[in-house]
Symmetry: C3
Subunit: 285 residues, 3 copies
């Protein structure tokens, strides 16, 4: 049941070009995370060139974190092009529900582009699933967090969204959920510090692009690989910190070095280590 972990090694072997149209807050983290995972990032976002860039890429990642009228157009053009060429497209609906612009943009994106995967926190996925969840900025509402006792209902929501969109649906949180038409997995990796730096979610979607780019015929497993890889990297990063139990000191043990250590851990992770540490279980539903 850890065969999905091998996909990480495939990423390193094939170095997929991953085209990200993303926000300007975490774009550097996403590019460095794609490189750490073994891919080759390209962040072109002008409508006049995104079709050319999609053509030379293995996957497209659309992130609406700091959308504007110029980039929304680029997302639509690139998404349609990727669809027509059969290349997987990932959607990261950052801040879904937080503004009318985000909501109408998501409606257009979901109407005009077929997504291989959609990844959001519980608030964002809840909003897309029509649960009328309230957004609190770009972070999830406390009342939406996925906990053990809400796991099954959250998985059911995600699977429902998966069935209506055809996409693998990932809900990020203390427990991550990867849902598809055939069921859902719970991933119990990661570390609370991941929520204390910006971009953990964006980087997860970027790694999904890497994995989908080399495994487009096993999309649920590709997403599972990406989500568990980032979670395991997050654990290793915390263990490497000062006071985290690791032998090497990680500077002062705060969030600035944690960010660097997260990239470190991903760049050093391989399929074997991932398979041995990934904590993945089927959710009964």
């Amino acid at each position: 049941m850890t065969v999905f972990a091998d996909i990480l090694d495939t990423v390193r072997r094939h170095e997929p070009v991953v085209h990200c149209i993303t926000n300007y807050v975490t774009v550097n983290d996403c590019a460095n995370m794609v490189l750490a995972a073994g891919g080759s990032p390209i962040m072109a976002d002008d409508a006049a060139e995104v079709e050319d860039i999609v053509a030379l890429s293995q996957a497209l990642v659309i992130n609406i974190g700091t959308l504007n009228s110029r980039t929304v157009e680029s997302m639509l053009v690139a998404g349609r092009r990727a669809n027509s060429m059969g290349k997987p497209v990932v959607l990261d609906p950052v801040g879904a529900g937080a503004s009318a612009l985000r909501n109408s943009t998501l409606q257009r994106l979901l109407g005009e582009v077929r997504f291989a995967a959609i990844k959001g926190n519980a608030s964002e996925i809840g909003f897309l699933a029509g649960k009328d969840a309230k957004a609190r900025g770009v972070d999830a509402q406390d009342s939406c967090l996925v906990t053990e006792d809400r796991l099954e209902s959250a998985a059911a929501t995600a699977r429902h969204l998966s069935e209506s969109t055809g996409a693998v649906v990932v809900v990020s949180g203390a427990i991550d959920i990867v849902a598809y038409s055939g069921g859902a997995w719970a991933v119990r990796n990661g570390h609370p510090l991941m929520a204390r730096i910006t971009g953990s979610g964006c980087m997860s979607a970027a790694v999904m692009g890497c994995c989908l780019g080399v495994a487009p015929y096993e999309m649920p497993q590709a997403c599972l690989c990406a989500v568990s890889a980032l979670g395991v990297a997050g654990e290793i990063a915390a263990e490497t910190m000062v006071g985290g139990g690791g032998e090497m000191g990680g500077l002062g043990g705060g969030t600035g070095s944690y960010r660097a250590l997260l990239l470190d851990a991903m760049s050093l992770l391989d399929g074997l280590a991932l398979g041995s540490r990934a904590d993945v279980t089927r959710i009964q539903m």
Copy 2:
């Protein structure tokens, strides 16, 4: 006289959403610094959504570092909305005096938006105060730097700008000044390395947004808390470096690790430590 330091703990308790319309150079640093200080950042900058985002935020920070016609409009729309909802707005007039566009934009912003706080280096504050200071890019002119013997006159300039705008005015430098209608404080914290990384000033304004967001009725103290917290974090970061006297090594002791250590230090700082290290004195005037 260190009661202002408690505001940092209040930020951690309330996790204010801080909306930043800022430059693309240091936007990631600002988001991570807001998180390190205990807030929740959102960097939306499209005019079509900033009113929605202001509505769910506790403070707005406007930074003109890489302004353009699209984002200037967003700044004005967001600023007016924040005013109408009674939410504090911070202005960081990066590069004031460096171009006609910056100068005319600042004139519009100051004419149409009421600021809770304005923070700049001595050149920028001098320009806004009508001192006809010459800008040298985005860094302060040497001739404008705040030193002990120029402290009183710089404080008088800042207080004058505070009285004419109604904003708390912060002058950043080797000595920071926090001026308001009732007087001014000198903050002797910080470290020279802060000027050797990009974004120290932008991050200071972002932390001011956090503090004002939870203490809108004691604005001078909120700004004092933010400025001294960043300064103390800057000192701790330097002490943690290789050769800085700290027990833990901080990589090679250069500016790249200093940047990570600055975020580390802020993420680990609390009101008690801040109160014991903050070097704040009233300026006689």
Copy 3:
């Protein structure tokens, strides 16, 4: 033959203002690298102000990594202005050949602006030299990489482009080439990890801006200084890593800390150390 290394000390003494119109992926890295090298960065990119900013700068760096219609206009306006004021302009043709937009933009830039230096990977320089090289995203094609046995032909291509444009031409890779009308140097510094973080190339161009800004009358030497300085910093960064042989630990030894260590190393490098470590030889041609 290491007199070029002294230019780094001149940068520290004069702190040139370096205006970069660049991509939003690595803009923060470029700003921090300019500071680490001793310059003062300013990243203004709006057409309405770039002429003012050029006027107060000592060099201009144009990077088309995430170009769009708004910033292409700014690049042209700024480039012409820098030409008319006699200030050196650096071109980083990121992803040349990857899209029609990039190609037509490069044609316009090369037609309307006179460059002091052009820096690209072998694919990009090959494209500009009319070699019809195929781009693979923003990374160089394997078939284009500069190796010992292809060194002379790559240098000839670069020198040809130098003669047709009047610019010093830098080809970045495992071996870097600095070519001008009078010949070419090979620089055998650097480390493979530099290709595993985003922005190494962009940062190299930014440092070239610093060096050209203080040594506009010895442009080949200024470029040589910049290229070798970044390469030596890249070596020192690797040596400082865990397992790299350095005494100090560099976190987990991955790409996240390598990025910080690269800035560290540049910020601590001086002309003497650069001169003793730079591995520069004339290429026979």
